[in-house]
């Protein structure tokens, strides 16, 4: 038996009703792709093309209108609880609980997994330290800068040691230097434990740096271009791929919002 892919989207469509209530539109249409275990996939696409929607489908937060999302033989929406502790998400915005300190925010996932509180605290402290936030454990989110908050939310996702990491533009609100450091840290963490990751970004270079594979989406979310970042692609072939991605992205007219 050939090994089944770890993550598989099969002809997935997600239809939303229009904001004005008149009719519907597809944010994701007949989207199919596979992701192997231990692979890091970067997803590129213009704003509004349905990246976050694909992301929420994968996370099991929304139900596909048709088609199937499958992770290791299970459906993330229907078999919601099966994935407890298996998926870690860094959202597009930090989504910290304002009533929890940085430390307590990082501990949220561990608390939900019913881990021993003492042990959880130790783990959370270690993650905050790793992300350069020692000394801020007891700060409330409103007293942290945007970049610090985003780092807390990264720590929160990593602290549960999930099999799958999902990041929706995690570094887009950070300055270039911090983003570069965190990108390196992120890759180190992912590669060291052989995690599978889906990484959404607006930056072509970031996608090429992070991904083993880069997917370029057109609206409504479907794959318009795909590049494998192995062998030559990281060196001599890089510019050709970059040019190709730019071309594919610019082929699409600016997004007319529904």
């Amino acid at each position: 038996m050939s090994e089944a892919p770890f993550i598989r989207f099969t002809e997935v469509t997600k239809v939303f009703s229009r904001p004005d209530g008149k009719g519907t539109f597809a944010a994701v249409e007949r989207l199919s792709f596979d992701i192997a275990k231990g692979e890091v996939v970067a997803v590129l696409g213009k704003t509004g093309c349905g990246k976050s929607t694909m992301f929420n489908l994968l996370a099991g937060l929304i139900e596909p209108t048709s088609g199937a999302v499958n992770i290791a033989g299970h459906a993330p929406f229907d078999e919601f609880n099966h994935f407890r502790g298996k998926i870690g998400i860094v959202f597009q915005n930090d989504r910290l609980m304002p009533w929890r300190t940085a430390l307590d925010n990082v501990m949220l996932g561990l608390q939900i997994l019913d881990k021993d509180p003492k042990e959880s605290e130790e783990i959370a402290r270690r993650w905050l330290a790793r992300l350069g936030l020692s000394g801020h454990e007891n700060d409330y989110p409103h007293a942290l800068s945007g970049g610090m908050r985003q780092r807390v939310s990264i720590a929160r996702a990593f602290a549960v040691e999930p099999e799958i990491l999902m990041c929706d533009e995690p570094f887009s609100s950070l300055d270039e230097m911090t983003a570069r450091d965190l990108r390196a840290e992120f890759l180190r963490l992912v590669k060291q434990d052989g995690k599978t990751a889906v990484f959404i970004t607006h930056h072509i270079n970031e996608a090429m740096d992070v991904g083993d594979r880069v997917l370029v989406f057109h609206r409504p979310a479907r794959i318009a271009y795909e590049a494998r970042m192995d062998g030559d692609a990281r060196n001599a072939g890089r510019e050709a791929i970059q040019a190709e991605i730019l071309k594919v992205l610019s082929l699409e007219a600016p997004v007319a919002h529904p």
Partner: protein, 257 residues
Amino acid sequence: MWSNPQFKQFYQATIGTLVLVAAWQIASFFFPHYLFPPVQAILARTVSILINWPELKQVLETAARIFAGLTGAFLLGCLVALVIGRSPKIESYITPLLVFLQGIPALSWVIIAIIWFHGTEFRIFFIMVITTLPAFTFQILDAYRSMSKDLFEMTMSFRPSARILFRVLIVPTIVPGILTAWKVNLGNAARVVVVAELVGATGGVGYELLRQQQLFDMAGALAWTIQLVLFVLVVQQVIVMVERWLLRYRPVSERAS
């Protein structure tokens, strides 16, 4: 000290009260004392109620009725809000009913309670619950609906059990709204309770007010009213302190004061 907003608030409230007291005192010079008793007479009666156990007991009795009614309305309100929150369909049936209830004056409930029920305490409890229930329900529902979708999805991504979801997200989300609801309903309940006590209570602030009216004792009527006002002020202050402690995570803008 002057820039301390709490002090400023206290100071402004004091000035307002003093002006009112002075106006009353002046009136007492020109009108008969059974209409405008002098301030010291009212104060003396107020203090005498507080230090005289049988009288203080009646104040506490009324306070207990307020708490019992509010607790009942709160618990029932949580239940109704839960039912409504789960089904928009049920909501469209229950909401008009609650709005209708809201329009019925407390005095009508007094009549209904007297005809329907025996037992003074149960009648009072019924009136207190039915008059504060709609507001409580709406406020709890609002608090629940103000929950951030982003935080909800973030929490759900960890796949919490219903019990943990309630503890880590729903409770912290609705607590501020619930505290506000208690503050608002406390004032309403204090006004309703004296009416409710007309159903035949043989003690309590409402009963005493009725007696003062029969005795034509203005100082007494005011002194008993003041007990109720004091009670509301004290409890409200306690709620504000609890609020300040629970919501200490909230940032305060330097422009706010």
